[in-house]
Symmetry: C2
Amino acid sequence: MLAASDPVWQAAAEHGLIDMHVDAASDYELVIRETGHRFVNMCSCSYLGLNSHPKILQGAVDALATAKSTSLSVSATRIRPNLSADLEDELGDLWRADILVGLSCSTLTSGILPLLAGGQLAEGGPRTMVFDRFAHFNLAHVKPICADESLVLTAPHNDLDYVEDVCRKHPRVAYVADGAYSMGGALPLEGLLELQDRYGLFLYIDDSHSLSAVGEHGEGYVRSRAELNPLTMVVASLVKGFGTGGAVAMLGDRGLVRLLRRHAGPVGWSQSPDNMVLGASLASAALHRTPELGELQRRLRDNVELFDRLVPTPHAGNDFAVRVVPVGEADRAIDLSVRMFERGYYCSAVFFPIVAKGEAGLRILLRADLPSKLVTDFASSVTTESMA
Amino acid sequence: MLAASDPVWQAAAEHGLIDMHVDAASDYELVIRETGHRFVNMCSCSYLGLNSHPKILQGAVDALATAKSTSLSVSATRIRPNLSADLEDELGDLWRADILVGLSCSTLTSGILPLLAGGQLAEGGPRTMVFDRFAHFNLAHVKPICADESLVLTAPHNDLDYVEDVCRKHPRVAYVADGAYSMGGALPLEGLLELQDRYGLFLYIDDSHSLSAVGEHGEGYVRSRAELNPLTMVVASLVKGFGTGGAVAMLGDRGLVRLLRRHAGPVGWSQSPDNMVLGASLASAALHRTPELGELQRRLRDNVELFDRLVPTPHAGNDFAVRVVPVGEADRAIDLSVRMFERGYYCSAVFFPIVAKGEAGLRILLRADLPSKLVTDFASSVTTESMA
């Protein structure tokens, strides 16, 4: 994989398109210190612009004044700041869930999935683990650890027939997938819930790309359509739409939170979110209770709809903010990314192993905090350059 | 493992000794909000007290003013704030290394070790991976992922003969261990460097428990005794002695930094340290250049020597701040921890799987920011209660 992908990364590097170091320039622009080149980052996952919201930055500052330290530097299994307990209570109330806060989705998932595979999180013993082929890297990375505990299979993308077939052949099955996929689209939730009803299928969903952006209180795509139950667990990053850092697991049972805090590997023995992130997160949670959330979600939807009207892409019309302009070979994607960058927009060229070989493209993430004039100008640049 | 350890965690929980939620009370004390009970945390890994240093807290605040966001919410492989690049430069200069900053040691290690096992980080192809039996959880957690790439073995603790035997039988070997162990003691560095000379043994060392606390510029135990070379890599957490958050890999080659940023799994696709932590870290790096570092290290050594004079423990006299009072069975360790807590000191009961069964104990971490009077009173309490 490294041998296949490094030459393409190197080509991107030679055009200055990776490992860029930037400062903030204006509300919408970043600037490269060495060259002075200013551009708009069209690949930020901060879908609502909350990563620069003054109240959220102030939350981080306030937390330092209260906690008087960056962190307690002790295992969160043993001692946590009240900021952490308060955040779990606040988000639990907001999202109707028992909440476990962690350093990142990777941390939560690498602690939780081996327990799920080993049969510790639901009745009946070890579970056959079925990963969607497009499940995010952080999920797929844990496959070998799960394979120490039970059988691990990879399903074709969104293939309900494949999953049902495994459910027929194996007594206990867990399906591991994204809610909203990082390269666009979503999981077939209704069909999966039917399989859960019929076969007791466990669903472990990473819904990072829709948290905050979707749902009345920003609970994300899956949680806005499904309640938690003993066979459904959702994890989501707080660094994207939510605007801060760290991650949450949403659980349907307080006993599970206790069990995971003690036994889910890095949840106990690795770092936990620092006090600044906890303070920023409490401020973001508070903002999620105000009408401002709905207003930002509406602005995001407006920008996505505007872009879709101007630039047709395979995922146009869906509920999410991720669009990919298909290009074909990796070198064409890099070339297009270079020309867009010269015009003042960073959109990332995505290529193997991020997407399949021969299916490279230009990845674009819309946001609430971009003025519609900017979206219009950007769409026009995409159209011009992708035809050049 | 879960079935064996959960009853002991539960016993600790019933005594209020785990999942404590606290506020800051004074320079030395924490307080439990619900009960008002005040205590000194004798298990903080912030060995120099830098987690509450005013300059370091100010660094976090200043970074928010500069960066105007919590983070860029984009893969660090693609775009990073100058705060991150500046931190890598600063720490590289301070510690004579090429530096890769990451979210945590777990994140760095779970990205790096599979590449090392697969033969991507040094000449000659895949390597047999030998993990010390006491290597920290975050290292051992990645064994199954490494096992997809090559043979994985577990060595008895600090057993150079075992490692040499593997080197004789296998063409390429990597040894994975802690520098200073989290339960006390260190690795046999000289012997390992001899094996490196003789057999080309790769050394991958997590030196989190000695960073900042040891070395002229806080470079840690291993780096204060050994230069980097193409067969030596050190990772260390910045949340302990350094006082902030995130982690670093110290490498002997800038090309390796580039390779890891692109291909070391979660280093690219998971979160990276937030702007507040980067700002705090730049402030801590600056402090590491001043005489204050040596002064704090001296105060830490004084406190450790004072404690060692008053309470003999197996690791008394060594260079580190970790001491364990052996107790035997887990229930006795919990009982002792309960009585110390009543006296106003939190020391954690450590038991299986943190240590071997029947070898439970009371874990104590000394710090620079404890007045010597407090250390004396604490030692006297340990003596009284451990004889009770």
